[in-house]
């Protein structure tokens, strides 16, 4: 299990974590830690490349939830009423945390848990970076 970090420049700087390995409880801990560090160091836009993640266990999904919340709390748009409404209605997708190229099982886990309602899924790095 490893995480390779790269920086991409779109309209805003985007930090890309390329994950490799099954996203189990141990790997999820590593992802949470690395994300906290990146956010503390100033990352506001995070893209998780999941092309080499055979599956996302529930511990991995909970890590996504924590990162989602950390980036939300940190954002200036937190108090926006339209956004709060969107969150309640399930029409809000994070502008801060997005996913790239999840495998079939990963997509299944995301949709089984209802996480695809809140997280954008992209299939090209270029488009993903441009979407922030």
């Amino acid at each position: 299990m490893e995480i390779t970090t790269t920086q991409e420049q779109g309209r805003v700087p985007v930090t890309v974590f390329r994950l490799k390995g099954e996203l189990d409880a141990i790997f999820a801990g590593k992802l949470r830690e690395q994300s906290r560090e990146a956010i503390a160091a100033g990352t506001r836009h995070l893209l998780l490349d999941l092309a080499e993640v055979p599956y996302i266990a529930s511990a991995g999904l909970r890590a996504f939830q924590e990162i989602f919340n950390l980036l939300r709390e940190d954002s200036v748009d937190k108090g926006d009423t339209a956004l709060q409404q969107g969150l309640r209605d399930g029409t809000y997708k994070s502008p801060h945390l997005k996913l790239l190229n999840p495998t079939r099982l990963a997509v299944e886990a995301l949709s089984t848990a209802g996480f695809d309602m809140f997280l954008e899924i992209h299939h090209s790095l270029k488009e993903a970076v441009a979407s922030y």
Binding site: M1, E22, D24, A25, I26, P54, Y55, A57, S58, A59, L61, R62, Q65, F68, N69, R72, L87, R88, G90, Y92, R104, L105, E108, A109, T112, A113, G114, F115, M117, F118
Partner: protein, 165 residues
Amino acid sequence: MASSEAESPGQDRHPRASGSLLRISADLKNLAAVRRFIRDGAGSLERDEDAFQALTQAVDESLTNIVVHGYRGQPGFIEIELSRAGDSLVVCLRDQAPPFDPTAVPSPDVTVPLEKRPPGGLGVHLTRRLADRISYRPTPQGGNELTLEKRVFKPPRGKGSGSPT
């Protein structure tokens, strides 16, 4: 603290294609060793890789629950037994944690916004979706036995659904 490798008591270093057994200490660091054990134990028979990964994830979720909610961080052991039933791979997990039936856990509400999601229940929910069959029984020794089954092997050509070798 256990090492990243599975502990040795009862461990079969060269698992056979069926009926092989692995014993690990109840530590999340052993999940990777269990994945290797299942992959090695499934042998070289032609299989559906997606289905195989799905069963591996179901085992991962179940073991994580045993370590976190069963043993609650206390030391303990988990036995993982692998066997074949026709085109299916069967994984039996035995532990000595307090009795707990994961098949009785209600499914979480997955429509709640991420900010308000209560923790828990997701692993069991995923396991139900991933495995073809899940069964639970308390063991006579006071522990738990959870059996996960999934059709992962492709039937031999021209022989219908096939039979165990």
